[in-house]
């Protein structure tokens, strides 16, 4: 029971021991059986006929092309340590309030407790999620997702693809949603979530989130049993492997996470971030305040990996992060409201005037 909480507490995803990496969520428009201005079938055709990705790198490119064609803003990873793509402000904060939003990005994720010194072929302390968020969630979001699988070369008439109930809850983000894990022949390849609350606030409209586990899917497509054998790209006639790019990082970071991370400093850093966060909220600066939440959260994850937090303390730390997240969510909402929720207004106004 300890291990269960242990793995549930700070991020979403993967039940204990599920080997591997998982990604998170997605976005875009179009009514299921109706027309939708943002959803041009021509684009789909292009993606489907284009070359199937053979390398990890091409795989990401295909997803970028596909979701870009669905009208997503392709943004870049957050430059802070996070446990999941959901923590990127492009998901967590953008899920708050009435403004529309569509984005896709790769997010490196850090899970210090998953450190395995580069010895486990399925588990990494640093891995990638491909995240798509669309608000409001389009009515055909499942179909959009399935087309993305076709784009990367997965044929649903060959493989068994299933949406299996898996509702999401993040105690630290005060967030929850309804959704599924997507199974490809019994393997979980994606988390699919309709956000219902973020930071304790009701999500209206609802953000649809699609999170792909990039390494896991790539291993499947490339038919390799070890993540380190993935072909990242072909360069000057030579295969560059995932191991070549990341193996040393796994070894050294695992050693740091489990053996060297300075727990005294991490505890005080957590406290400092907490104080700063409260101060920044008072100063009506929700974005810097949110960075403090993320830094505190990562400190907590490292302390957890170092087994420096007792069971009873653990719950208290989680609650502290949750309180910070909630305050930031409210502050962010207030700030957007003060700005008049500008995004999407222009198009709504012009529609009205043409209407």
């Amino acid at each position: 029971m300890l291990s269960y909480q242990h793995f549930q507490a700070l991020g979403r995803f993967l039940t204990y021991n599920q080997p591997l990496f998982i990604s998170q969520r997605a976005p875009d428009h179009a009514a299921l059986f109706g027309s939708n201005p943002g959803h041009d079938p021509a684009f789909q055709k292009t993606s489907m006929t284009q070359q199937k990705p053979e390398t990890f790198q091409q795989f990401i490119q295909v997803l970028n092309d596909y979701w870009s064609n669905q009208g997503c803003v392709l943004i870049q990873p957050l430059d802070l340590e996070v446990g999941a793509g959901t923590f990127h402000p492009a998901t967590f904060l953008r899920a708050i309030g009435p403004e529309p939003w569509s984005a896709a990005y790769v997010q490196p994720c850090r899970r210090p407790t998953d450190s395995r010194y580069g010895e486990n072929p399925n588990r990494l302390q640093h891995y990638y999620q491909y995240q798509v968020v669309i608000k409001p969630s389009p009515l055909d979001i499942q179909d959009l997702y399935l087309d993305s699988l076709r784009a990367v070369g997965i044929d649903p008439l060959v493989h068994d693809i299933r949406f299996v109930e898996d509702n999401w809850e993040s105690p630290t983000l005060g967030a929850w949603g309804i959704g599924w894990e997507v199974w490809l022949n019994g393997m979980e390849i994606t988390q699919f979530t309709y956000f219902q609350q973020a930071g304790g606030l009701d999500c209206k409209p609802v953000t649809g989130e699609i999170t792909y586990g990039l390494e896991r899917l790539a291993m499947y497509l490339q038919k390799v049993d070890s993540v380190y054998d993935l072909i990242w790209t072909r360069s000057n006639g030579r295969d560059v492997t995932y191991g070549e790019v990341y193996h040393q990082n796994e070894v050294e970071m695992s050693t740091y996470n489990f053996e060297h991370a300075d727990t005294d400093w991490l505890f005080s850093h957590f406290d400092h971030c907490h104080q700063q966060c409260l101060h920044l909220i008072d100063a009506k600066l929700p974005l810097p305040a949110y960075e403090m939440v993320l830094k505190a959260s990562h400190s907590f994850n490292l302390l957890d990996a170092r087994k420096a937090i007792s069971v009873t303390e653990r719950q208290r730390y989680i609650l502290r992060v949750r309180e910070m997240s909630k305050s930031v969510a409210q502050a962010y909402y207030d700030r957007r409201e003060a700005l008049g929720f500008p995004i999407g207004k222009a198009s709504a106004d012009s529609e009205a005037s043409h209407g």
């Binding site: 649903p156 008439l157 493989h159 309804i178 022949n185 393997m187 609802v206 069971v311």
Partner: protein, 699 residues
């Protein structure tokens, strides 16, 4: 008039939660049926059905009455006395009422009621066609669905289980106007997500299942489940094996597919060195596989999975499944090897780091109480105290192993394996495993003495502890499973014939708990009463009657084997000769009343009857019969042969009847009176030795 139609309602959604799929469909049917019945529409319930598949809930109502019958409605207004003033002019009250029903005062009738004459109006209401009411009935029916977690999606305000994509409401071949969650009612459904992505036209409500079958959706959950069973059975047979299909898993799998296709795969034989239950849990829980076993029930390195697609390349699916299960089983093997490095004994200190319940301390505290209580109980049962102590020390240690951390349902089973691997006595290993028995109603009971003692001690401690902590069950809420715990206790005591005094065990358990919770012993009566309420349900389920239970319960017997012998005797007594039993029960009741009225003079039954004061023939006869019966039952009572005692006492029926017919108990002579009361008291005492027979009287 008898125009009948067939109604189809289908709500098309994204993938519904498998755990509640059938319940939702059934509730939708029940709620619609209730709406229709409430509105006066008859239909053929026998021929009506509900359907459930991952992306749809549907109901089909057969032979539905198309038109409501006309009906009349009476609206009552003010009393006539208050409706007209002294001049005979209508009052405000009369005019107001007339206005509210849209007529003038002259049009109102005078209606006689038991509160006097009142103004009123009787109106005919023409029956409406069902088509006009379906929209509102469907909305009400949906509002009544038991949706555990409703969700919003997109920018809609409404909520439902999952996003809704289409709604079919068809009366025979006619689309009903209306909409639900933004979807207009239509005539088109959707087929299988991949096999048949195009819309499917339903020409007539009665064609629903066939239309979907043609579009690769088996919409009837019962048929779909059977199809999985048939395919799995055939597939297993082709490997000379049997499929293990737990009903709950089978239901879940059925709720996850629209078009089941069972495939089989295999895994490395070397995994079989891991305790099989761990492999089975891994296959069932994580992958929803059906494990395969050979004719002897031994696990084979194969599995069955249920795909939702008739793949153009089934081998690709099998390869994928085998790829997924390998790391799962490797994990199970890893946990097993890892856990084996630490003997259970070495985990004992860590029990004190896991809180069992705030007021009741840690698992170490619980293990200590259970150990001491177990030793008390072992004293009453032929059981080695050494094994009990050892088993109690180790019995929760497997909760701290990696394997149980991953598969909580393997608690006990893994403890058994680890205990054996580390050389614990068999009795100890078995007790660690079997103290969880019985897990469910009707489950097997433990049969090894150490396991029985541990199972009892564990349940008494849980039951008493949670009561003492002030968290006894209320209504349907029983988070600690106390009803189940009490049932386990009484089933073991009764069915294993254990000479256990429930009151004594409860007192012992509470005494130990009072070390943590002050005043715990005050819960004794409450806990015992709680167990006896479970005991009542237990006997009622076995076709004993309330009267029989109450008759024995009134004696305050708390050794359940004794309770059982007595209630069985009562049942046999009643069943063998109903009139005699009723007559004797009535006689006992009458005696009880007489003795109660006699109050202070009432004898206790221990006094002797003075033969010299017996005068009437009937009382002499009764005394003689009583003496004979008492003589005959004495040895039977010693053997607790209660049924034979009651049979013997049945011979008193006629003498008692004659006595009441012919003898005046409350004679004027105090000596005669006292002697007769004594005679009666002694009779009652004979019966009371078995049960309060007076309580067997049925009204």
């Amino acid at each position: 008039m008898d125009d009948r139609r067939e109604l189809l309602i289908e709500i098309g959604t994204e993938e519904l939660p498998p755990g509640s799929l059938n319940r939702l469909a059934e509730s939708l049917y029940n709620a619609m049926a209730q709406q229709l019945t409430g509105q006066g529409f008859a239909f053929d319930a026998e021929a009506s059905r509900h359907y459930a598949a991952p992306r749809r809930l549907a109901v089909r109502i057969a032979a539905l009455q198309a038109m409501q019958a006309d009906r009349s409605e009476t609206r009552m207004g003010p009393a006539v006395a208050a409706a007209f003033d002294a001049e005979g002019q209508p009052t405000q009250a009369a005019m107001g009422f007339a206005r509210s029903v849209g007529v003038s005062v002259e049009d109102l009738s005078r209606i006689e009621t038991d509160k006097g004459e009142r103004l009123g109006i009787e109106r005919k209401i023409a029956g409406q066609p069902v088509a006009d009411l379906l929209q509102s009935m469907l909305h009400k029916a949906v509002d009544a669905l038991p949706i555990a977690k409703a969700m919003r999606w997109s920018d809609l305000e409404e909520t439902f289980v999952r996003p809704v994509h289409w709604v079919v409401v068809l009366l025979d071949d006619q689309v009903i106007p209306g909409s639900f969650l933004g979807q207009p009612f239509g005539q088109q459904t959707r087929g299988h997500r991949f096999h048949h992505p195009d819309p499917v036209q339903i020409d007539h409500a009665s064609e629903y299942p066939a239309c979907l079958q043609a579009a690769s959706v088996m919409v009837d959950a019962t048929l779909r489940r059977q199809r999985i069973v048939d395919q799995a059975t055939a597939c297993a047979a082709s490997h000379q094996a049997e499929a293990v299909m737990e009903p709950a898993l089978l239901d879940e799998v059925t709720a996850l597919v629209e078009w089941p296709v069972v495939v089989s795969g295999s895994f490395d034989e070397e995994f079989l060195e891991v305790p099989h239950q761990a492999l089975i849990s891994s296959m069932q829980n994580h992958q929803k596989f059906f494990p395969l076993v050979d004719g002897n029930g031994a696990l084979l390195p194969r599995f069955l999975a249920t795909a939702n697609i008739q793949s153009t390349n089934p081998d690709a699916i099998v390869k994928g499944l085998e790829r997924v299960i390998r790391p799962r089983l490797a994990d199970a093997r890893f946990f097993w090897m890892q856990d084996l490095k630490t003997p259970l004994e070495a985990l004992i200190p860590r029990l004190s780091t896991v809180v069992y319940q705030k007021a009741l301390g840690t698992l170490a505290d619980k293990a200590d109480r259970v150990s001491r209580l177990g030793l008390e109980i072992a004293g009453h049962i032929d059981c080695s105290s050494e094994y009990v102590e050892r088993a109690a020390a180790l019995y929760k240690c497997d909760l701290l192993t990696d394997m149980v951390g991953e598969f909580p349902e393997l608690q006990g089973v893994m403890g058994y394996h680890y205990a054996r691997e580390h050389g614990e006595a068999d009795a100890v290993a078995v007790a660690i495993r079997d103290h969880y028995l019985p897990k469910l109603a009707g489950d097997v009971l433990p049969d090894d003495p150490t396991a029985i003692v541990l199972a009892l001690a564990e349940r008494f401690d849980t039951l008493c502890g949670i009561f003492a902590a002030g968290m006894k069950p209320s209504g349907n809420r029983d988070p600690f499973g106390l009803r189940r715990a009490a049932n386990g206790i009484l089933r073991m005591a009764v069915e294993l014939s254990l000479p256990l005094d429930i009151a004594q065990c409860t007192r012992d358990a509470l005494t130990l708990i009072s070390e943590q919770i002050e005043g715990a012993v005050e819960q004794q009566d409450t806990v015992v009463a709680f167990i006896f309420e479970r005991l009542r349900s237990y006997y009622l389920a076995l076709s004993f009657t309330q009267e029989q239970f109450n008759a024995v319960h009134a004696l305050g017997v708390s050794t359940l084997t004794d309770f059982d012998a007595r209630i069985r005797a009562c049942q046999a007594f009643v069943n063998q000769d109903q009139p005699t039993a009723q007559s004797l029960a009535a006689a006992n009741k009458r005696i009880g009343n007489i003795l109660r009225k006699a109050a202070d003079d009432a004898p206790t039954g221990s006094e002797a009857v003075d033969a010299s004061l017996l005068t009437e023939p009937a009382e002499l006869a009764l005394q003689a019969a009583l003496e004979a019966a008492t003589e005959a039952t004495r040895p039977l009572l010693e053997q607790a042969a209660y049924q034979m005692v009651l049979a013997e006492l049945s011979t008193l029926r006629e003498p008692i009847d004659a006595f009441f017919d012919q003898v005046m108990v409350m004679d004027e002579d105090p000596a005669l009176r006292a002697n007769r009361l004594t005679l009666l008291a002694r009779i009652k005492q004979q019966f009371d030795a078995i049960a309060d027979i007076a309580m067997l009287v049925t009204e």
